[in-house]
Amino acid sequence: MITVVGIPGHRRVELFRAAAVAAGWPAPAVVGWRDVCAGDFAIAPGSLVRLESPGEDAEVDRLLRGADRPAGHGEIVGLAAWYAGFVAAARRVERAATGPLTTPVDELAVMFDKRRCHGLLRERGVPVPAGFAATSYAEVRAAGWSRVFVKPAHGSSASGVVALAFNRSRVSAHTSVGVEDGRLYNELRVHHYTDERTVAAIVDRLGADGLHVERWFPKATHAGTVFDLRVVVIAGRASHVVARTSRTPLTNLHLGNARGDLAAIRAAAGEERWAAALETCERAAACFPGSLHAGVDLMFAPGFGEHAVAEVNAFGDLLPNLLVNGRDTYAAEVAALPSWAVPV
């Protein structure tokens, strides 16, 4: 028996349910995050519990933040409050469950805090760019690095990420963050700001909810575009891989970037370096040993000689229609379940 906690009807939930049913499992029960927030839910005794993203539901977002008003479309607001509410809600699920969670809340809490996630990876010897926690633009500048990525500690995907470059007289910021009426919005297009006051104001606003600042790791290019890899590690093994390409510093599928030619990139890297990179992803995922799956973002340096992990995502397995051995990510996760945990 499997219970999925998510947004009922969301394709993440539906795709997973379909995969489970196709593999011969009884149709998973679905518990909405809205009901978890209200304390009005139950989980069948012994059921495996899969936590899914609470994203893309404005009311759930409001409830998790404990806010009076829902956020505007794309509005970046209350990320720290959201994080606290989300972890608390996940704990409620964990307490109510008697079977195992496919993503334990302790691990979820680390993956959703980029500062802690980065610290854990570094501690375990997983290659990551140098980084530190900050709350203001002044701290970011004071680091003395000429190119950095500023990420909200609790942001998801590219939301709120600012790619910054400085020199003596100039500042350049690429970000999907737009400002309207004093509010910050995550927009589909990439803005380019060169006015330091604007940049500082955005970073300071984001900083109130905590920032993870990372030295810019220059990424390899392929066919003239920069790329990184999303590697979904399932039950310890690198399973599904996509290359995400971009002509801007933010590689993220949400920004309309294309999937790259994985075979060509693999060939350019060479088998030895490719294998080493996937092994790094598996080591990154192994920092979360209780999680059935993790989406690891991996960057190659130019020339492919080095690589580093950018992020580990608890809900990084939404890669529809990407089949490996005939299975998409969800089918592969379901197939891994019997050996990963014996359902009660």
Binding site: A130, S146, R147, A165, N167, R168, R170, S172, H192, R215, W216, F217, P218, K219, A220, T221, A223, G224, T225, V226, R247, P249, A301, P302, G303, G305, E306
Partner: protein, 307 residues
């Protein structure tokens, strides 16, 4: 467009990356060696890589050298003094590229450069010099008898560098390529700064002139319409710039261009009619009017590579 790909060939040779520890198949391989350090590297790493390269392949076997990133390439210029210090070992060096980086490693207009006169003085036999990035690029007047090709790629070439070039002497130069860029990124040259190049008396054997990526492409084209140097050229390149009908028409109505082998105007803002006229009126010339651009809604014409 931005520069997203590393070179695979330089000065007619395949580019071969080198890092300390790289095994070399055999000495005397005909390649352009490339050294580049990581984003967290620095001058010391460049020095280590250069020394290791010279020791491993034999300094006298190095004819072409590509320097990629020197670490914090946007806050400090290239450690050219490491090369000048190695002048007595790098006796066969003929071709040099400084700053061969993609936009992801460092946007072109952010690459710090430096003063090149001492380097040119230290390598009197150098034949090809290729520089990417022009922030802080300088050239005190020099005389260099052997340099055949000089190329500076930039998002904005400082007028002070062009004046340094004008006050220098490169009697063997056959190929001059300057990416003038935009004012916004430091390209503050006006067409008058190019007057000595247009006259060409100090460039007696120039065969290819490329004034590319220019916001002032119309002014450049208009000046070229009457520039004495054009009569001696085989190849003229005005590509990647903001060239529109105004400059193109002036060029077409100016001095004859039929002696050219090639005329490159790709990435342009000309009308179809104007582009067609070039092809029709210059039947013996390889005319490239590909990659037609449209001005944006404010009428602004972007060059190909800026930031």
């Amino acid at each position: 467009m931005t520069i997203g790909t590393n070179l695979t060939t330089f000065a007619g040779l395949p580019v071969r990356p080198f890092k300390p520890g790289t095994r070399v198949q055999r000495h005397g391989e005909r390649v352009a060696w490339r050294i580049s350090v990581g984003y967290d590297g620095g001058e010391r790493d460049v020095a280590d890589a250069l020394n290791a390269l010279m020791d491993t392949v034999g300094a006298h076997h190095i004819t072409a050298l590509v320097i990629g990133s020197w670490g914090e390439s946007q806050s400090s210029g290239p450690p050219l003094h490491l090369l000048t210090a190695a002048r007595d070992r790098l006796t066969e060096l003929r071709a040099l590229f400084i700053g061969e980086m993609t936009y992801e490693e460092c946007e072109i207009s952010w690459i710090n450069q430096g003063e090149y006169a001492p380097l040119l003085g230290a390598f009197p036999a150098l034949e090809v010099l290729h520089i990417r990035g022009a922030d802080g690029l300088r050239l005190a007047p020099v005389r260099h008898r052997r340099l055949r090709e000089l190329c500076v790629e930039s998002g904005g070439l400082p007028a002070s560098f062009i004046r340094g070039f004008n006050d220098s002497s490169f009697p063997a130069l056959t190929d001059l390529e300057l990416w003038l860029g935009t004012q916004e990124y430091g390209g503050d040259a006006v067409v008058d700064d190019l007057a000595p190049i247009m006259t060409g008396t100090e460039l007696p054997v120039l065969k290819r002139l490329a004034l590319r990526n220019a916001e002032i492409a119309d002014d450049v084209a208009t000046a070229l319409a009457a520039a004495p140097v054009v009569a001696r050229l085989e190849s003229l390149d005005l590509s990647m710039g903001a060239l529109s009908d105004a400059g193109a028409e002036a060029l077409l109505l100016g001095q004859p261009l039929t002696h050219l082998r090639s005329l490159d105007m790709s990435h342009h803002f000309m009308s179809k009619e104007m582009a067609t006229r070039f092809a029709e009126e210059l039947p013996g010339v390889r005319v490239d009017v590909s990659d037609e651009q449209d001005a944006d809604e404010d009428g602004f014409r972007y060059v190909s590579v800026a930031e």
